[in-house]
C-alpha cells in the first residue's frame, strides 16, 4: 500500500470508529432531555432516576466520542495537509464555528449535567440538559455543512495565485442543499440509534422481569421517539436521494449499478450482482420507473448511467489536462493575458486534469492509455456502494417495523408485551450502527476519486509522509482504539446489567450486585 491508500485507510478507520459513538450521543442527549422534562412536569422521581441511569450509559459512550473526535480534527492537518491548504479557507470555517457555537456548549454543560443535580433547581437543571442536547445537534449541523461542501462544493472559487479554493459565498456554503438534507437525515438516524439503545435494554429488563416500572416507562419513551425518528430518517433519506440525483450523478449511478443509461423513466434495481467485468448487473430484479421517480421526481427525465458519465468525464479530463498545463506555466511566471484567459475558460475542469497526476508526472504528454485509466478511475467501484446502500435501507425497514410494533404495544398499554417483540428489540440493537456505517460508506466512498467533489482528487490531498510514518501511526491508533472499545463495551454491559440499581437509591432490583460493583 502507498501513502494514499494508507492515509485513506487511517482516515476511514478513525472516522468509522468515531461514528460508533456520535449517533448514540446525538440520540441519547435528546432522550435524556425528554425524560427529564417529564420529571419536571410530573415530579415523579422515577423519571429523574431514568435520566440519571441512562445518563450514566450516555457518559460511558460520550467519553469515547470525545476521544475519537479529537483524532478527526488533528488528522486533516497531519495526514491531509494539501487538502487543508487547498480548501481550508472554506472548510475550516464550519469546523471553527462548530467548536465555538456548539461543542463549547455541549462540553461545558455535560459537566453540569452530571455534577449539578444538587446545586441547581429542577428547572435550571432541565435547561442545562436541553442546552446540552442543542449543542450536540448544532455540532452535527456544522460538521455536516463541512462534509456537505466536500460532496457539493458551492460558494467557492479557485485562486491561481494562492493555489487554493477561496470562499465566495458563505450563505451558499451554509444553505448547501446537500448539507441540509444530510444534516436532517443524519441527526434523525442518531435519534433512532438512541431510541433502539434504550428500547433494547429496557426490553431485556422486561424479559428478565426486573425493574418493570422503570423499564416500561423507558420503553414507552423510546418507542414513541423512535417511531417519529425512523419515519423522518426514511422520508429525509429519500429527499437525500433526490439531492444526490441532482448533484452527484456518479454516486447515484453507482448505488444503482446503472452501467448504461436507460430511456426515462429509469427502473430501480432491487437486487442483483453488479459485475464490473461485463459492466452489467447479473440476476437483476428491477422495479420499473421507481429510480426515475426517486432521483428526478419525474417520469420524463433520464438518469444518466456510468457509460454516459464516463464519456463526459473523458471530455472534462482533456480540458482539465490543458488547464493543468496552463496552471503550471502561470505558476512558473508566464502571466500573459492569453494564458490567463484560456485558463479561466478551463478552470472548472482543473480538478479533472489533476486526476491524471495519479498516472503520470508529465500531465502535458499523458498517453491515451493514461487518459483512459484516469477515465476508468473517475468513478468508484460499484459493488461496495450497491451493497452498502441496500444494507442501510434494509436495516431502516427492519427498524421501522420494530418501532411500529413497539409503539403499537406501548400505546395499547399492553401490560405484558409479547416475548417475541422484546426479543426482536434486543436483537435489533446492532441495526442502527450497521445502517449508519453503511450509510457513511455510501456517502464517502461514493465520492471517490474525489476528496472534494470534482475539485481535488483524493490522491493529491495527502501529506507528504512516508509509508513508515503511516504504518506506525495507523498501527498505534488501531491498538489504542481496540483497547478503548473493549473497555467501553465491557463497562456498558456491566452497567446495563446492573440497571438503575447503579444509582444506589435502594429502590431497584439487584442493589446488592451494584454494591459489589462500586463499594461504599
Amino acid at each position: 500500500m502507498d501513502i494514499v491508500d494508507l492515509s485513506r485507510f487511517q482516515f476511514a478507520f478513525t472516522v468509522m470508529i468515531h461514528f460508533l459513538f456520535v449517533p448514540l450521543t446525538i440520540g441519547l442527549t435528546f432522550i435524556l432531555a425528554i425524560m427529564e422534562s417529564v420529571y419536571v412536569m410530573t415530579g415523579k422521581t422515577i423519571y429523574r432516576d431514568m435520566t440519571k441511569f441512562w445518563g450514566k450509559l450516555f457518559g460511558i459512550n460520550f467519553a469515547l466520542g470525545i476521544t475519537t473526535g479529537l483524532a478527526m480534527e488533528f488528522q486533516f492537518g497531519t495526514n491531509w495537509s494539501y487538502y487543508s491548504h487547498y480548501v481550508g479557507d472554506i472548510f475550516g470555517a464550519p469546523l471553527a464555528i462548530e467548536a465555538l457555537m456548539a461543542f463549547f456548549l455541549e462540553s461545558t454543560l455535560v459537566g453540569l449535567f452530571f455534577f449539578s443535580w444538587d446545586r441547581l433547581s429542577k428547572e435550571k437543571h432541565l435547561i442545562v440538559t436541553w442546552l446540552m442536547a442543542l449543542g450536540t445537534n448544532l455540532s452535527a449541523l456544522w460538521i455536516l455543512i463541512a462534509n456537505g461542501w466536500m460532496q457539493n462544493p458551492v460558494g467557492a472559487q479557485f485562486n491561481i495565485d494562492t493555489m487554493r479554493m477561496e470562499l465566495s459565498s458563505f450563505s451558499e456554503v451554509v444553505f448547501n442543499p446537500v448539507a441540509q438534507v444530510k444534516f436532517v437525515h443524519t441527526v434523525s438516524a442518531g435519534y433512532v440509534t438512541g431510541a433502539i439503545f434504550v428500547l433494547a435494554i429496557s426490553s431485556w429488563y422486561l424479559l428478565k422481569g426486573r425493574n418493570i416500572a422503570f423499564a416500561r416507562r423507558s420503553f414507552a419513551i423510546a418507542a414513541a421517539f423512535g417511531l417519529a425518528s425512523v419515519l423522518s430518517v426514511i422520508v429525509l433519506g429519500d429527499e437525500s436521494g433526490y439531492e444526490v440525483g441532482a448533484v452527484q450523478k456518479v454516486k447515484l449511478a453507482s448505488i444503482e449499478a446503472e452501467w448504461n443509461t436507460h430511456p426515462a423513466p429509469a427502473p430501480f434495481t432491487l437486487f442483483g450482482l453488479p459485475n464490473a467485468e461485463t459492466q452489467t448487473t447479473d440476476y437483476a430484479i428491477k422495479i420499473p420507473a421507481v429510480l426515475g421517480l426517486i432521483a428526478t421526481r419525474s417520469l420524463t427525465e433520464e438518469v444518466k448511467g456510468l457509460d454516459k458519465l464516463k464519456r463526459e468525464h473523458l471530455e472534462r479530463i482533456i480540458r482539465g489536462q490543458e488547464a493543468y498545463v496552463l496552471m503550471q506555466q502561470y505558476r512558473q511566471g508566464d502571466k500573459s493575458a492569453v494564458t490567463v484567459n484560456r485558463f479561466n475558460e478551463l478552470r472548472d475542469d482543473l480538478g479533472y486534469g489533476m486526476l491524471l497526476t495519479a498516472f503520470t508526472d508529465d500531465v502535458a504528454n499523458a498517453t491515451p492509455e493514461q487518459i483512459a485509466a484516469a477515465v476508468e478511475g473517475s468513478v468508484p467501484q460499484v459493488w461496495p456502494l450497491f451493497w452498502s446502500f441496500r444494507v442501510m435501507v434494509a436495516c431502516g425497514m427492519l427498524m421501522l417495523l420494530l418501532f411500529i410494533l413497539a409503539f403499537w404495544h406501548s400505546a395499547k398499554r399492553t401490560v405484558n408485551k409479547p416475548k417475541w417483540l422484546l426479543k426482536f428489540a434486543i436483537f435489533s440493537l446492532p441495526l442502527p450502527w450497521i445502517a449508519s456505517e453503511a450509510g457513511w460508506l455510501v456517502a464517502e466512498y461514493g465520492r471517490q476519486p474525489w476528496a472534494i467533489g470534482e475539485i481535488l482528487p483524493t490522491h493529491m490531498a495527502v501529506s507528504q509522509l512516508t509509508v513508515n510514518d503511516l504504518l506506525i501511526s495507523l498501527g498505534s491508533i488501531m491498538v489504542l482504539y481496540t483497547i478503548f472499545i473493549i473497555i467501553e463495551i465491557w463497562l456498558m454491559i456491566k452497567y446495563a446489567r446492573i440497571g438503575p440499581a447503579a444509582l444506589h437509591t435502594g429502590k431497584y432490583d439487584l442493589e446488592h450486585a451494584a454494591t459489589e460493583l462500586k463499594g461504599d
Binding site: 457518559g59 460511558i60 467519553a63 469515547l64 470525545i66 476521544t67 479529537l70 483524532a71 480534527e73 488533528f74 486533516f76 492537518g77 497531519t78 495526514n79 495537509s81 494539501y82 487543508s84 491548504h85 481550508g88 479557507d89 472554506i90 475550516g92 469546523l95 471553527a96 464555528i97 467548536a99 465555538l100 457555537m101 461543542f103 463549547f104 456548549l105 462540553s107 461545558t108 454543560l109 455535560v110 459537566g111 452530571f114 455534577f115 443535580w117 446545586r119 441547581l120 485562486n159 495565485d161 494562492t162 493555489m163 477561496e166 470562499l167 465566495s168 505558476r331 501529506s463 507528504q464 509522509l465 501511526s473 498505534s476 478503548f484 473497555i487 463497562l491 444506589h504 460493583l517 462500586k518
Partner: protein
C-alpha cells in the same frame, strides 16, 4: 474592514484562544500530573479529580477551538504545522486520548488496580501534551525544515528526532513546569487541609523555578538561537504571496521587535514578575492571587513568544523565503471577515456560560464530601 487589520485581529484572536486554552485546560492538565504526587490515597486523589471533573471537558474545547480557528484563519499554517510535526502531533493526540477515559471510567469500577491504571492514564495523558506544546514552540523559534513546491504542496525535510533537540526539550520542560504550577494554584483554591498545604509548597517551588527558566530561555534564545527577519516589503493588504519574500537568518533577530518598540519588553518582564508574585502568594496562602498571577504569567509567556516572532508564525529553516507569516499565510479576506463576526458574537456567550458553570460548582471540596457522594462524583 481592511485585509491588513483583519489579519492582525486574527493574529490576536489565535493568541487569545491559545491563552484561553493554557489558562483553563492548563490547570486540569497540571492537576492530573500532580495526582500521584499530592494525592496520598484514593480519597485525596478523588478530591483532586472532582475539583476539575465538571470542567475539564469544556476546558479542552479551548484547544479544539484554537485548532479549528487555526484551520480557518491560517489554513497553510495548520497544514504545515500538523504535517511537519507529525509524530509530535500523534503523540499529543494519543496522550489526550487517555484523559476522557481516565476521568469518565475511573470511578466506574471500585478496584485499586483499575483506579491505579486510570491515575496513570490521567497523569501521562496530561504530562505528555504539557511537554510537547513547549517542544512545538521550541521548534517554531528555531525554524522548521520545510519548503513548498510550485503548486504549494508542502515538503518536510527533517526527521522526528530533529524535533527533540536540546532547546526544544528545554522549552518543553519549562512549559511542563508552568502548567503543573498552574494546576497547583488551582488546587489551592478548590481543596482543603493536606492537599491544599502540599499544593502551596509545590507551587512556591515551581513558580520560582519557572521565573528562572523563563529568564534562561530568553538568554539561550539571545545568545544561542538565530532568529528570522523579513527583508523585503510584504504587501500586508494584498493576497498571500507566501513564497515570494526574502528572509534572512541572523543572531538575536528574535529581539528586533523589542529594539523597535521598547515598551514591548514589559511583556516578558511582567511574565517573570508574575511568576515571582505567584511564588510569594503561594508561600503566604493568598490563594486567589496565586492562581491569578499564574494565569497572568502564562498569558505573558505566550505573548512573549508571539511578539518575539512577529510577524512570523512558522519560519522555514530549509527555505527561509517560504516561511509562513501572519501577513501571507492567512485565509481570504471574506473568510476572515465572517469568522471575525462569528467570534464577536460567540466568544462572549461562551465566556458567560463558562463563568456560570464555575459559579455553580463553586466552593472547596474535601475528602468527607467525596466519600458521602461516592456514587454521583467521579
Amino acid at each position: 474592514m481592511d485585509y491588513e487589520v483583519l489579519r492582525f485581529i486574527w493574529w490576536l484572536l489565535i493568541g487569545v484562544l491559545l491563552i484561553g486554552f493554557v489558562i483553563t485546560d492548563g490547570f486540569d492538565l497540571g492537576v492530573a500530573v500532580l495526582l500521584k504526587l499530592i494525592g496520598k490515597n484514593d480519597d485525596q486523589r478523588r478530591v483532586m479529580i472532582n475539583s476539575i471533573a465538571p470542567h475539564w471537558d469544556g476546558n479542552q474545547v479551548w484547544l479544539v477551538t484554537a485548532i479549528g480557528a487555526l484551520f480557518a484563519a491560517w489554513p497553510t499554517v495548520y497544514a504545515a504545522a500538523f504535517s511537519s510535526f507529525y509524530f509530535v502531533m500523534m503523540l499529543t493526540l494519543f496522550a489526550l486520548f487517555l484523559r476522557p477515559i481516565g476521568f469518565e471510567y475511573r470511578a466506574k469500577i471500585d478496584n485499586d488496580a483499575w483506579r491505579n491504571k486510570c491515575d496513570w492514564a490521567l497523569t501521562i495523558g496530561s504530562a505528555v501534551p504539557a511537554v510537547l506544546f513547549g517542544v512545538a514552540f521550541g521548534n517554531l523559534l528555531q525554524g522548521v525544515p520545510f519548503y513548498f513546491d510550485d503548486i504549494l504542496r508542502l515538503h518536510y525535510t527533517g526527521g522526528f528526532f530533529d524535533l527533540l533537540n536540546p532547546f526544544a526539550l528545554f522549552v518543553g520542560l519549562f512549559s511542563f513546569l508552568m502548567l503543573v504550577n498552574h494546576g497547583a494554584t488551582y488546587l489551592q483554591l478548590k481543596t482543603e487541609d493536606d492537599i491544599k498545604a502540599r499544593s502551596e509548597r509545590i507551587s512556591t517551588l515551581l513558580s520560582a523555578s519557572c521565573a528562572v527558566l523563563f529568564v534562561l530561555a530568553g538568554l539561550w534564545l539571545y545568545y544561542g538561537i538565530d532568529g528570522y527577519s523579513v527583508t523585503s516589503i510584504i504587501d500586508t493588504n494584498g493576497i498571500n504571496r507566501t513564497t515570494e519574500k526574502t528572509v534572512v537568518i541572523s543572531a538575536a533577530a528574535w529581539f528586533n521587535n523589542y529594539a523597535k518598540w521598547p515598551w514591548l519588553s514589559l511583556i516578558p518582564i511582567l511574565g517573570v514578575l508574575s511568576f515571582m508574585v505567584c511564588a510569594l502568594s503561594s508561600a503566604t496562602k493568598r490563594h486567589l492571587l496565586a492562581f491569578l498571577s499564574s494565569a497572568v504569567a502564562l498569558t505573558m509567556v505566550i505573548a512573549t513568544a508571539g511578539v518575539s516572532m512577529f510577524p512570523f508564525i512558522m519560519p522555514s529553516s530549509s527555505m527561509p523565503a517560504h516561511s509562513l507569516t501572519m501577513w501571507d499565510a492567512t485565509a481570504s479576506q471574506t473568510s476572515l471577515q465572517i469568522m471575525f463576526v462569528v467570534a464577536c458574537v460567540f466568544v462572549p456567550i461562551v465566556l458567560s456560560y463558562t463563568a456560570w458553570s464555575y459559579f455553580v460548582m463553586r466552593g472547596r471540596l474535601n475528602e468527607q464530601h467525596v466519600r458521602d457522594n461516592s456514587h454521583s462524583l467521579y
